[in-house]
């Protein structure tokens, strides 16, 4: 398949739907956390905001499905994978720095480990529709 639009069809439809859910959830969560209690755990909440931006970028880039947006999606999802592994590992290693949870702490345990699975599926899907 060489048609970049294939990214948003078939199983990609479901992948993008899940990304959309996480984009919305992460944005709402980060927004409320930063607006109401930023002083309690600024690092965790800033990371929440970063995660939200990455989920939004990945969702829109996947849904746009042009050659350029596929590159953006690949970059966003790669950062997402690194982020979830790094934050997941840090949150176990130094729990004191994470008094409040982010989407990615403990490898996304609070979200059924979907945040850990999602970037893997996303990268596989981008590879398959290349």
């Amino acid at each position: 398949m060489t048609d970049p639009a294939a990214t948003k069809h078939g199983p990609g439809r479901i992948l993008i739907a899940v990304y959309g859910v996480f984009a919305l959830a992460a944005t709402a969560r980060a927004g409320v956390q930063i607006a109401t209690k930023f002083d309690e755990a600024p690092i965790a909440y800033l990371l929440s905001a970063v995660a939200a931006v990455i989920y939004c970028a990945a969702t829109f880039a996947l849904a746009k499905a042009t050659p350029v947006s596929r590159k953006v999606a690949t970059a966003a999802i790669a950062i997402e994978l690194i982020g979830v592994i790094a934050i997941g590992a840090f949150s176990y290693a130094v729990p004191d720095d994470f008094p409040d949870a982010t989407v990615w702490s403990h490898f996304g345990q609070g979200y059924g480990f979907v945040p850990l699975l999602l970037p893997v599926l996303g990268l596989l899907w981008l590879r398959r529709t290349r």
């Binding site: 990609g12 439809r13 479901i14 859910v21 959830a25 409320v32 607006a35």
Partner: protein
């Protein structure tokens, strides 16, 4: 919520029945928003207001966006995408319940 989930999980192409049920659910969600805010303003429980209202409003967005996204794909994958959107509603309901119970 469960009824909409069951319909979508049958993984058919999206038809008017499913859309009708989703419309009813959406109306119920709007009612829930109104009732939720009224109860929140009248309760002396230690409920986190911004989060509670955030979830109430967020739950309104899911189905219209999901339906819009799913209708553009007239295959089983479209219905699957809609099923994802429907799956989110009970999760949000559980979170709302947890927030209220604190």
């Amino acid at each position: 919520m469960v009824y909409a989930l069951v319909l979508a999980a049958r993984n058919k192409r999206i038809d008017w029945t499913v859309l009708g049920v989703l419309g009813v659910v959406e109306v119920l969600l709007v009612a829930q928003l109104v009732v939720g805010i009224v109860q929140l303003s009248g309760t002396d429980r230690d409920v986190s207001g911004p989060f509670f209202v955030g979830y109430l409003i967020g739950s309104l967005l899911i189905l219209p966006i999901g339906a819009f996204w799913a209708l553009a794909e007239s295959s089983r994958w479209g219905a699957g995408a809609l099923a994802i959107a429907c799956l989110v509603i009970p999760i949000l309901e559980l979170r709302l319940h947890d927030l209220w119970a604190v």
